[in-house]
């Protein structure tokens, strides 16, 4: 036992306290550094020295510097952050989408209503050019609102693509950096001490990566970490990182999909396997919400434009001589998009082409479809799947037309197995909508036929309205006359017979409130609808003649007004062959608006929940790993005092040594 032992003990103690102080300084310095884990000095006591008087301590050893780190909490914080980023990205994207569906007077429903309300004034003054001008102005406004909405949706789509590309760039950089960090860690780990700051940095990179895409990590024995996305797809392994890229959708080049490069080319990652992160939100938004919005908007545009145009075609305009009305609106055409992998002919063009036509705008659904050749190889049948998540069904073109009001014609070589098309009946309709009628005289306010009751009638019957409802009205069979018979006491109906100019006769039954001429269920489909007031007596007649004075006739304009209350948007074919009631244009818009609104509401709620979860997880993680300055201040004092005490030990050793020297001097 000598003073050298005491000196060495004091020195060790000073060194240990200094090391602790240095670590505390590091902690204080990095208190606000994201991803920094609090560091601690591991102090140990070396084995004592045995003497005859027992074991004497040999001071303190600084074993290593560790970081306060919990693997589980770190993973948990990163994955909940990933979900929170997905939800908040979706929320902000949907908020943009919601702006395309404004409420109240700015909405599309109101624009349609204003057009029909302007037609009321045309009905009041059928020959008045100013009333017609206003109606055309409203038509312009309606078309412009639809096409603006379509343009906004296209802008949102291109915004999604550029966001996705930017995010993918960041992900690629981050995975490169993680690979580099892995390399450094693997090299440093050989020293036997953990490279704390390097590990923190890598954890922080993984956490940042989680903002963009949900990852799972798997530590390897060499200290590196494997990073996987999309249910086991390798992104970083050791010091190797794969690259993600945005590749064009095989059908629609305006859309992109996520691909990962592999040794044998790139592979497409389905959005459904990415469970978190902003990239997953962007892909889901592109493939679902934006498509739904385009289809909803297009369905309304297609239905209203085609209904108005067909009613317009059934009337007479004010030109001289009066002719059938020309279309008021044009909409973007339905389209089919071949997959780029489809069979091509020798010249490199697609071997099979599909032509598509809307035959009944009221049945067209607000969806796009994926069309494949029948998997069993039966010709003349297709496998049709509603995008993005419908069930595949095998249908003939006739079935498709009956169900969806869409006629699909195949031309060129027969479709090969493996070929596929995306069928978009209405997706482009809204964006391409415009008014094509410019002349006020072109508005067909008059019906081609007029009904009159002769003087000789004895009943109280008068004509309420008469207008054409479809193309079955054959003007070559006009004039016609409707002759009423006796009342059937069983159900108070009155038999009538319609005699046409060619001598043919159609018989039917009329009841108060029912219409004549358009009763497809009773087998009467003459293309006009005659409504009566009052009651006819036996022998009374109504004469139907060609309209003599189109300038004064407003019957077709009144038929337009019926389009305002008719439920024609989105009728669905029922199992029994009948059509369900659709929605009026106002209701269809209100439904679309509240659909998007409730998506926003739902995503807002979700993003609130997942942000809360993420913030809790982060709080727990940082509670374990973060720096508390008050704690560091206390520890600072603790080790300062320890350092002072160790210095005192040295001083004591020095003094003892001095005493010894002084003794020896004497």
């Amino acid at each position: 036992m000598g003073t050298s032992a005491l000196l060495s003990l004091g020195m060790k103690a000073m060194f240990a306290n200094q090391a602790a102080l240095q670590t505390i300084g590091q902690n204080i310095a990095n208190a606000n550094t994201p991803g920094y884990s609090r560091q601690l000095v591991n102090l140990t006591t070396p084995e004592g020295q045995f003497t005859g008087a027992g074991y004497f301590g040999k001071g303190v050893n600084v074993q290593t510097v560790t970081r306060a780190h919990n693997e589980f909490l770190t993973k948990e914080a990163a994955s909940s952050k990933s979900l929170a980023f997905m939800d908040s990205t979706r929320y902000s994207l949907l908020q943009q989408l919601e702006k395309v569906f404004p409420t109240g007077a700015d909405g599309l429903g109101q624009a349609a209503n204003q057009f029909f309300n302007a037609m009321v004034d045309v009905t009041s003054r059928p020959a008045d050019p100013s009333a017609r001008q206003v109606a055309l102005g409203r038509a312009q406004e309606l078309a412009a609102r639809f096409s603006n909405a379509g343009a906004q949706l296209a802008d949102l789509q291109s915004g999604v693509v550029s966001d996705l590309k930017a995010d993918i760039d960041v992900v690629n950089q981050l995975s490169q950096q993680i690979a580099a960090a892995n390399d450094q860690v693997a090299r440093a780990i050989g020293t036997g001490h953990s490279p704390n700051d390097l590990l923190d940095q890598r954890d922080q990179l993984i956490s940042r990566l989680s903002q963009y895409v949900q990852v799972t990590t798997l530590p390897a024995s060499d200290g590196s970490v494997g990073v996987f996305i999309g249910g086991g797809q390798r992104l970083v392994l050791g010091n190797q990182a794969q690259t993600l890229s945005a590749t064009p959708d095989p059908y629609d080049s305006n859309r992109v999909q996520l691909s990962i490069s592999e040794a044998n080319g790139s592979r497409v990652l389905d959005e459904s396997v990415l469970s978190g992160g902003s990239i997953s939100a962007l892909l889901a938004y592109q493939n679902k919400d934006l498509q739904d919005a385009r289809n909803l908007m297009g369905q309304m545009a297609m239905a209203v434009a085609m209904k108005v145009n067909s009613q317009q075609a059934l009337g007479l305009d004010l030109s001289n001589p009066p002719g059938a009305g020309a279309p008021i609106f044009a909409v973007g055409s339905p389209r089919t998009l071949p997959a780029i992998t489809n069979t091509r002919d020798a010249a490199g063009a697609y071997a099979t082409t599909l032509d598509i036509q809307i035959t009944d705008p009221t049945r067209v659904p607000a969806s796009s479809f994926l069309l494949r050749a029948d998997p069993t190889g039966t010709p003349g049948q297709y496998e049709l799947t509603a995008r993005p998540d419908g069930k595949p069904e095998v249908l003939t073109p006739a079935d498709i037309e009956k169900r969806y009001g869409v006629r699909i014609t195949e031309s060129g070589a027969p479709m090969q197995p493996g070929d596929s098309f995306v069928v978009e009946p209405v997706a482009m309709a809204a964006g391409g909508m415009r008014r094509v009628l410019d002349n006020t005289n072109g508005l067909a306010a008059a019906a081609p036929v007029t009904a009159t009751v002769p003087l000789t009638n004895t009943g109280t019957m008068t004509v309420d309205s008469l207008y054409a409802v479809n193309k079955n009205l054959d003007l070559s069979k006009v004039p016609m006359s409707v002759q009423f018979g006796a009342v059937n006491p069983a159900d108070n109906s009155i038999a009538y017979s319609i005699t046409m100019s060619d001598g043919s006769v159609v018989n039917g039954n009329w009841k108060s409130g029912s219409t004549i001429g358009n009763e497809p269920l009773a087998g009467i489909d003459l293309g006009f609808e005659l409504r009566l007031n009052g009651v006819p007596r036996a022998g009374d007649t109504v004469n139907i003649d060609p309209t003599k004075f189109p300038a004064a006739n407003n019957s077709n304009a009144k038929a337009f007004l019926n389009l305002q209350k008719e439920s024609y948007v989105g009728r669905v074919l029922q199992a029994d062959g009948s059509l369900s009631k659709g929605a009026t244009i106002t209701d269809a818009y209100a439904a679309a608006m509240s659909d998007v609104g409730s998506r926003v509401q739902g995503s807002k709620y979700l993003s609130g929940v997942s942000a809360g979860v993420a913030s809790d997880a982060e709080q727990v993680r940082s509670g374990q790993a973060g720096v508390n300055l008050d704690e560091e201040a206390a520890r600072l004092m603790q080790f300062q005092q320890g350092y002072q005490a160790a210095a005192k030990v040295l001083q004591a050793g020095q003094k003892i040594f001095d005493e010894l020297l002084a003794l020896a001097q004497r």
């Binding site: 908020q95 008068t462 006739n553 509670g623 508390n628």
Partner: protein, 403 residues
């Protein structure tokens, strides 16, 4: 549990930001007065408000249609009023023309007066509605609807009426044919008409009045012929139902005494002459105003008529005028009734609009009391948060070990 200092700052800051965001939202709601800014604020309420707004738009349009109809109906009502006044004057002249002391010249003067009034009436029948159409245009007509042609005035329009409106139907025009050309002939049930004497071919010496219905339940709707046999005292008359061929009445001729058969009664006056005959036919709805007037004018202008002829003609034309006046008045009262309906519809529409407005307001407007108290709540909450934040963040151990 330990709390990381930087996380504590982050959490506090994000909480403060959230509170600020909420206050901003409340403030925006208070400024606009609307609870629903976007559909996502309340999807159901937004679509409810959307429907109400569309209903309000339709009611407004319907109101404009109603005004157009009211305008037409007011003009028509006043035109029919004018027409009625003129018809009364014409009738007075016609009655005056029955004065037995008048000469052909005086009757011709009255005929000229009636012809002048007839032209005024034609102008009324062709009155425009101020919007490019005609009040009596029916379902459309040439320009103008009543054409004065050599064969008399004819209606060129398409009979019927045009209605406007999207919720209810409001008439825009009146059927000109129904008003001007669709009076029931005769007394409304049957038409008596003198025929030339069966034996001489000259006009009869007796005349027949318009007749009346005495028992509606006995009416047959058949045609009859009244035949006088014998001259002077002792003469008889026979009424034959020409549809069935049966003789329904026969009696001695008595001037001014009514003959009753099968629910109706007619009176033969004057002196009986063998061979005088009259027909009685069912009334038809085709009596035209201008035809009646033209006939009256031409009869009044016919010189050298016997007293019997004059009496017969006057009684017949006054009867016809009464029929057309009655028809015109019934049209006028129909128009008045429609205007009445319009008033009723207007107040019903105002109620409906009010209902929809309150529905819209209930769906999307902000309850101000609730909004303000919520805002104040948030304000004091934010205030407290700021104060405590400042206090807590000031506390640090380093402050105490400074000294």
């Amino acid at each position: 549990m330990r709390i990381a200092t930087s996380n504590m700052f982050d959490t506090s800051i994000s909480t403060l930001q959230r509170r600020q965001q909420q206050m901003q939202d409340s403030q925006q709601r208070l400024t606009s007065g609307k609870r629903i800014q976007q559909a996502s604020d309340d999807p159901t309420g937004a679509s409810r408000a959307e429907r109400s707004l569309s209903a309000i738009g339709r009611i407004d349009a319907n109101q404009r249609a109603l005004e157009a109809s009211r305008n037409s109906m007011t003009l028509t009502e006043s035109a029919l009023g004018d027409a009625n006044e003129i018809m009364q004057q014409i009738r007075e002249s016609m009655v005056a023309a029955g004065n037995a002391s008048y000469t052909d010249t005086e009757r011709k003067g009255l005929a000229d007066k009636i012809a002048g009034l007839r032209n005024q009436l034609l102008a009324i029948a062709n009155r425009p509605d101020g919007g490019g159409g005609f009040l009596f245009g029916g379902q459309g007509s040439a320009d103008p609807p009543f054409l004065d042609q050599p064969g008399g005035v004819s209606y060129t329009g398409v009979p019927g009426q045009i209605a406007t409106g999207n919720v209810d139907d409001f008439p825009l025009t009146v059927d000109g044919r129904a008003v001007w050309e669709q009076a029931r002939s005769g007394n409304g049930t049957f038409v008596t008409e003198p025929q030339p004497n069966a034996l001489t071919g000259a006009p009869g010496k007796s005349w027949i009045d318009a007749g009346r219905v005495i028992n509606p339940s006995l009416l047959t709707g058949n045609s009859y012929q009244v035949q006088v046999s014998g001259t002077g005292a002792g003469a008889t008359y026979t009424v034959t139902n020409t549809s069935t061929g049966a003789v329904v009445a026969t009696a001695p001729f008595a001037s001014g005494k009514s003959i009753e058969f099968e629910g109706m009664a007619v009176t033969l006056s004057g002196t009986a002459e063998d061979g005088d005959q009259f027909t009685i036919a069912p009334s038809t709805p085709g009596l035209k105003v201008f035809e009646v007037l033209d006939r009256a004018v031409s009869e009044l202008r016919t010189p050298l008529r016997s007293g019997v002829q004059i009496a017969q003609s006057n009684s017949g034309r006054v009867r016809d005028m009464d029929a057309v006046i009655a028809n015109m008045q019934s049209a006028r009262s129909q128009v008045g009734e429609r205007m009445n309906n319009l008033d009723g519809t207007e107040s019903r529409m105002a109620d409906l609009k009010l209902y929809n407005q309150s529905e819209q307001s209930a769906a999307e407007d902000l309850d101000m009391v609730q909004g303000i108290s919520e805002f104040q709540n948030q304000q004091s909450g934010y205030d407290a948060a700021l104060k405590t934040y400042a206090m807590v963040q000031r506390m640090s151990l380093f402050q105490y070990i400074n000294s």
